[in-house]
C-alpha cells in the first residue's frame, strides 16, 4: 500500500518560523488580551497527517494476498469439517413405521412414560470424544415473549426473587398462588426426554456411559446459576414455599441425585436456559469420553437408542433428533465457513486477475503517453 507522509505544514506554505512569533504575541498579550488566533497546529488545521492512497497498484496485490490466504484457510476448514463424524436420528415418530410413533401424541403428565427404542448402525467408527446432542426443529426458543420469560436473579439464588419472581415470567409466574421456581416459559418447557445409548453386539446390549456434567458453560454453572442460600444444604428446605413449573413432573430440587448438579445448577437445565438463536437448534446432552487410546469411542456397528418419550413436539409440528458428533478445533460439522472462505478467496483472486489485466492495459497506454511529456 502506497502511503504518503505529508506534513501539511510545508504543503500549505506556512512559514515554520511563524510559530514562535505567534506564541510570543500570545504570551506577551497577558495584560492586553489579543484576539489573535493561536498559531498552533491544531487550530490552524496543520496537524501532521498520513495520507494513505488506495490505488489499483496497491490494492490489487492485496487482492492476491487475501485470495492466497483465504483459499487455504477455506480448504483447511472444509477438510476439517468433512472429517467430523456426525450421526443423526430423527426419533419424532411421524412415520407410522417408526418405533416412536406410538408416543407421538404423548402429553406431559402421561404415566407411565412412553418409551421406545430405535436401532441404528454406525458405518464408521467415532475415534475421538463423542458429543451427544438433542435437536429440536420448529421450536421457537428465540421468540421474544419466550426469551424474556425468565428471572435471572431467581436463578442466581436471590431469595426474594425466589418467592417473588419477576413479572416477565407471566403466565408461568405463579401456580395456585405459589411462586414457581424456576419461573417462566423457558424453564417450564425444559426438554425432558431421556436418551440412553446401547452398543448392540451379538444381541447383548452394553450401556455406553454418558457423562452429564461439563455440558454447560463454566460461568453459567458457577456464577450465573446458583441455588438459593440459607441454613443447611437441604435443597428441599431451601425451595420451601415455591412450586414446580406446571409441565415438570418433579420439582427443581429433584432434577438429579447429585447435589452439585441439582436445583438451578443442574447442567441440563442450564443448557436449556441458554436459548437458541434459530428455530432449528441442537443442545448438548451428554458426553461420551474416549476410554483408551486403542479403541475408538464408538466403534462401527449396531447401536440402540432408548428413549423415554416425554416431550411433545407434534402439536407445533416440531421434530426431535438425537445427534452424535465428534468435535474439531472449529466446533461441530459446518461446511458453510469453509465454502465461504474458498468462495471469497477465489472471487478475490479472480477479480485481482481481471483488474490487473485492465489495469495493465491502461497502465501501458499511460506510460507510453508519458514519454513525449
Amino acid at each position: 500500500m502506497a502511503v504518503n507522509y505529508s506534513a501539511k505544514e510545508e504543503a500549505d506554505g506556512h512559514p515554520a518560523g511563524g510559530g514562535p512569533g505567534g506564541g510570543a504575541a500570545a504570551g506577551g498579550g497577558g495584560a492586553v488580551k489579543t484576539r489573535k488566533p493561536d498559531n498552533t497546529a491544531f487550530k490552524q488545521q496543520r496537524l501532521p497527517a498520513w495520507q494513505p492512497i488506495l490505488t489499483a497498484g496497491t490494492v490489487l496485490p492485496a487482492f492476491f494476498i487475501i485470495g492466497l490466504i483465504f483459499i487455504p484457510i477455506g480448504i483447511g476448514i472444509f477438510v476439517t469439517s468433512n472429517n467430523i463424524r456426525e450421526y443423526e436420528i430423527d426419533y419424532t415418530g411421524i412415520e407410522p413405521s417408526s418405533p416412536c410413533n406410538k408416543c407421538l401424541n404423548v402429553s406431559w403428565d402421561s404415566t407411565p412414560p412412553c418409551t421406545c427404542t430405535i436401532n441404528f448402525t454406525l458405518e464408521h467408527s467415532f475415534e475421538s470424544n463423542v458429543f451427544m446432542y438433542y435437536g429440536l426443529s420448529n421450536f421457537y426458543q428465540n421468540h421474544r415473549r419466550y426469551v424474556k420469560s425468565r428471572d435471572d436473579s431467581q436463578l442466581n439464588g436471590d431469595n426474594s426473587s425466589l418467592l417473588n419472581p419477576s413479572k416477565e415470567c407471566e403466565p408461568y409466574r405463579t401456580n395456585e398462588d405459589k411462586p414457581i421456581a424456576p419461573c417462566g416459559a423457558i424453564a417450564n418447557s425444559m426438554f425432558n426426554d431421556t436418551l440412553e445409548l446401547y452398543h448392540v453386539e451379538n444381541d447383548t446390549r452394553t450401556a455406553i456411559p454418558l457423562i452429564k456434567k461439563g455440558i454447560a458453560w463454566w460461568t453459567d454453572k458457577n456464577v450465573k446459576f446458583r441455588n438459593p442460600t440459607g441454613d443447611g444444604n437441604n435443597l428441599t428446605a431451601l425451595f420451601q414455599g415455591t412450586t414446580k413449573p406446571v409441565n415438570w413432573p418433579k420439582p427443581v430440587y429433584m432434577l438429579d441425585s447429585e447435589p452439585d448438579n441439582n436445583g438451578f445448577i443442574n447442567e441440563d437445565f442450564i443448557v436449556w436456559m441458554r436459548t437458541a438463536a434459530l428455530p432449528t437448534f441442537r443442545k448438548l446432552y451428554r458426553l461420551i469420553e474416549r476410554k483408551s487410546n486403542l479403541q475408538p469411542t464408538l466403534q462401527a456397528g449396531k447401536y440402540s437408542l432408548d428413549i423415554t418419550y416425554n416431550y411433545p413436539v407434534h402439536s407445533f409440528d416440531g421434530r426431535k433428533r438425537m445427534i452424535l458428533s465428534t468435535i474439531s478445533w472449529m466446533g461441530g460439522k459446518n461446511p458453510f465457513l469453509g465454502i465461504a472462505y474458498i468462495t471469497v478467496g477465489s472471487i478475490c483472486f479472480f477479480l485481482g486477475v481481471v483488474l490487473l489485466i485492465i489495469h495493465h492495459k491502461y497502465g501501458n497506454r499511460n506510460t507510453s503517453a508519458d514519454i513525449p511529456n
Binding site: P52, L54, E170, P171, A277, L278, L284, I358, H359
Partner: protein, 996 residues
Amino acid sequence: MYFLGKLGWCVSLLASHCQWFKRTGAALLFSSARDLGFGCACSSLRLSPVCSSCLQVIVDTPTSPVTSGLPLFFVITVTAIKQGYEDWLRHRADNEVNKSNVFVIENAKQVQKESEKIKVGDIVEVKADETFPCDLIFLASSSTDGTCYVTTASLDGESNFKVMEMDGQHVTKAGACAECVCVMINWRMLLQHPSPRPQLYLTSPPSVCSSSESAAKSLGPENLLLKGATLKNTKKIYGVAVYTGMETKMALNYQGKSQKRSAVEKSINAFLIVYLCILLSKATVCTTLKYVWQSNPFNDEPWYNEKTKKERETFKVLRMFTDFLSFMVLFNFIIPVSMYVTVEMQKFLGSFFISWDKEMYDEEIKEGALVNTSDLNEELGQVEFVFTDKTGTLTENSMEFIECCIDGHKYKDCISEVDGFSQTDGPLKYYGKAEKSREELFLRALCLCHTVRIKQADQVDGLIGHPECKNTYISSSPDEIALVKGAEKYGFTFLGLENDFMKIRNQKNETEMYQLLHTLNFDPVRRRMSVIVRTTTGTLLLFCKGADSSIFPRVQQEEIQQTKVHVDRNAMDGYRTLCVAFKELTQKEYDRIDRQLNEAKMALQDREEKMAKVFEDTEADMHLIGATAVEDRLQEQSAETIEALHAAGMKVWVLTGDKMETAKSTCYACRLFQTSTELLELTARVVGESERKEDRLHELLMDYHKRLIQDVPKPRGSLKRSWTLSQEYGLIIDGSTLSLILNPSQDSSSSHYKSIFLQICLKCTAVLCCRMAPLQKAQVFPLYSPLTEASGPCALTCGLSDHWGMWIEGKQINFSDNAMLQWRPFLYWTFLGAFEGLVFFFGVYFLFHNSSLEDNGKVFGNWTFGTIVFTVLVFTVTLKLALDTRFWTWMNHFVIWGSLAFYVFFSFFWGGVIWPFLKQQRMYFVFAHMLTSVSTWLAIILLIFISLFPEILLIVLKSIKERSHQSSRKAPKSVSSRPSVTPLLLRTFSDESNVL
C-alpha cells in the same frame, strides 16, 4: 397618529434571548420538533424517535426504553447545550446592546436608562462615538450648524461619514442644551409616520408638524438616525425615538435572514423522508408477515410459549396496531438521530476553526473572522456566485485627484503654487491652456459644488489664521474630498461653511464668500448634484457636477466634444470621471426655483417625484466647464483574491454604478477579466439607442446563447467546473440593458430573455454589471433564485472588516444534474447498508446452522448470535470510516482505533459482571465465550471483509478509471492557463484595456 410621549409601542426588547428557554424547554419536553434544533418542513420526522421512546412506555416493545431513550436523551442534551451556548452568545450580544445605558430626557431631567427601556417618543441623548440605541429623529446637535456626522459601517459596510441635518425650523441655533430640549418636549408635536419598513434608505420618514406653528414639516432620510449607526465628530446630539426594538430598521432587516437552512440540512431532510417511508413499509410488511405466520396456531401460541391472559384478551385490531408500533420502535434506528448531532456539532466546531483561522486575522483592526451562526458553514464551500460591489470592495474607496480638463485642455499635477495657474513646470505637463477666467471658474466650481464639511482639529482659533492647520474634510463621498483637495492643489482652498456662507481662499490668497442658497443633493438616479450660490457681487450661480451621461445632455452640445475625448480616455484608464457645468441664474429664475424647491420639500405626498422634477428643470441649459479624473485605487491583493475565487470555480459578479470603461479597466486590473477572456457585451453601446434595440438585443442574446451553450460540447463528467473549459467568457452588461431584459416591454416574445440571459451568465466566469442604480443591484440578486430552487437562496453578509463586504449566494453545482448528484451517494450508501445488513445476518445465520462452535462441543445461544452480528457491524462501520478517511492525524488514529478498542473493552466489562440493577443477565460472559471460538473469529473476519469488499472494489475501479481518463486527457493540459498574479498597485491599466 400617535402622541409623542404617550406610552406608544412596545418596550424595546430584542426577544431573541428568550429563544433558548423556549427551545430547550420544549426540546426537553419533547413537545415540539422544531426545538430539537433542526426545525424544517418535515420536522415531524424528528419526532419519530421521540414518539418511539414514548411508545415504549405504552406498547410492549422489543427494546427497552433505555436502549432507545438513552441515545435520544444524549442527542437532545447535546443539541440543547449547543443551541443554548449559541443563544447565550447571542443573548450576551443582545444584552450588550439592550442593557447599555443611555441618557433620556424625562420631565426636564436627564435620566439614565437601559436602552431596551426606551419608549417611542423618548428624547435620547447620544454622545460622540456612541451607537444609536434605536431609530431616532434628529432634533438637536451640539455643533453650531445643526448637523452631525454618522457612520453606518455596521449597517451597510460603508465607512464614510454621512452628514445628518436637523430640522432647522424647530431648533434654535443656540446649540443643544438639556434645557432647550426640555422646552421642546412641551411643544405639542404630532408625529405622523409610516409603519416600519425594512429598507434602510428607501424610507419616507415620519413627518412632523408642530401644532404651535400649525405647519406640517416633512422629514427626509437625513433626519433619521438609524439604530446601529455611530455618531462621529459631534459632541452630542438629541433625538426623539421613533422606532424601537423589533421595529427598528436594523431589526426589520435582521428578521428576514433568521431562517437559514443549509443545503445539507435540506438534503438530509429529503433523505429522511425516504427513510421514513422505508421504516413505515418495513413495519407494515413485518406486521403483515407476523400475522401470516401467526395464522398457524402452532406458531401463534405453542404449548411452550403461552400468552398471558391480558395478551389473549386484547382486541385483534388494537393488537395489530400495537404490533405495528412495536416494529416502528424496533426499526426506528433507521432514522439516524445521531447524525443530526454529528452534523450540528461538526458545524459548531467548524465555526471555531473559522474564527481560529490565522489567515483571516487582520493585523490592523486586530480581529479575526467572526462566526455569527454555524448554520451555514458548510455552504461556504459550495458558493458558486460571488456578487461584489466595486467601490469600497474591490477598491479602497479612498480617492485621489489625478487630473482635470478645462475646456478640453488637460491639466495634470505640479502646477506651481507661486506663479498661479498659468505656469506649469516641465514641458511634459504642458497640454495647452484654457482661458484664465475659465480655469478659475472651474476651480471655484470644484470648491463650491459639494457637501464637504470641515472638522477642525483644534477649535481654539484655527479658522482662518492658520492656513496650515490640519483641517480635515468630511463628506459622505470620498470623491468630493478628492476634488476639494484637488482644487486646493491648484490654489483654491475651501475654508468651510459659516452661516450659509462658503468661504474660499483663492490663488491670490484672498477670501471669497459665497452665500449658499440651495444644495441639490446627489442622488444615484440623477447621478449629479448642484449648488446655487450668490456671489458677493450678487450674481447667482448654479454649479453642477455629475456623471458624463447625466451632464452632457444638459449642456450646450458644441462644448461637449473636446471634453468627451478626455473623459473617455480617463475612463479607459480606470479613473472615475465627473463633469462640471455651470449656469448663471437671473434673480427671477432663482425666485422661481426657490419657490418650487420649497414647495417640493414641503410636499407630503410624492415628495421624491416632485423634487426630481424641480431638479430636472433647474439643471438644464448649463455650460460645460470641464471634467475631473479621480483614481480609486484597488484594494491590496484584490487581484489575488479574484484569482483565487476563479480558481475555486466561483463566478464573480461585479455590480457598480461606474461607467463601463472605468469598470472594465478596473476589472482587468483586478484580474476579473483576463486578456484571454472573450468579452460579451450587452451594453447600450452595442445594443444601440434606437427603437430597434429590442431586436438587436434579441439578436445578441441568441448569438451569445448559441456560442456558449449550443456549440459547446457537453462535458462528460457532471462535476467539471467551468475553468476546465478552454475558453473563458466574460459578460458586460449595463443597467439600461439589464432593465430591458428584466422588464421587457409588453412584447411577450421577449419575456424569455431572462432565462436565456441567465443561461449565458452561468457560462461566464465573470460578469460585470456597470451603470447600475442601487435598486438594480438589489434586483440582480433574486435573479438567481430560480436556479437555486434546490438549495434555496441563502445570503450571507460577511462584513469581516471594511475591506471585504460581500454577499455570498450558495447554489448547487449544476442545476440540471443536481438531483442526480445528491441522490447517487445516498442510494449507494443505502444499498450498501442493505447489502451489509444481509451479509451480517445471513453470514451468522449459516454459521449457526450448527451452533456448537467451541472445541468442547458446547453450544452458543441467541445472545452470542446477536453479539457476533453486532461485533461485525461495529468493526465494519469503523473500518469503512477508516477507508474514507483521507488525512490521518493522530486524532483520527485515536478515535478510530480507540473506538474499536473501547468496544472490545466495554463488551468484556459489560459481560464480566452480574449487574445488580439489571433484571436479566443476558450478556454475562457472552462476549468472552464468543472469542474462545476459532470459528467465530474466522467468521467475523470473513464477514467484515465481505462487507468492505464493495467499497474497496469501488476504490480500485475508480482509480483505474481515473488513470484511463488521465491517459486520454493528457494532451490538452487541464491545468488552468491563468498566469499568476503580479503585484498590481503599480500596474497601468491602459495596456490591457484595448482587447475588444
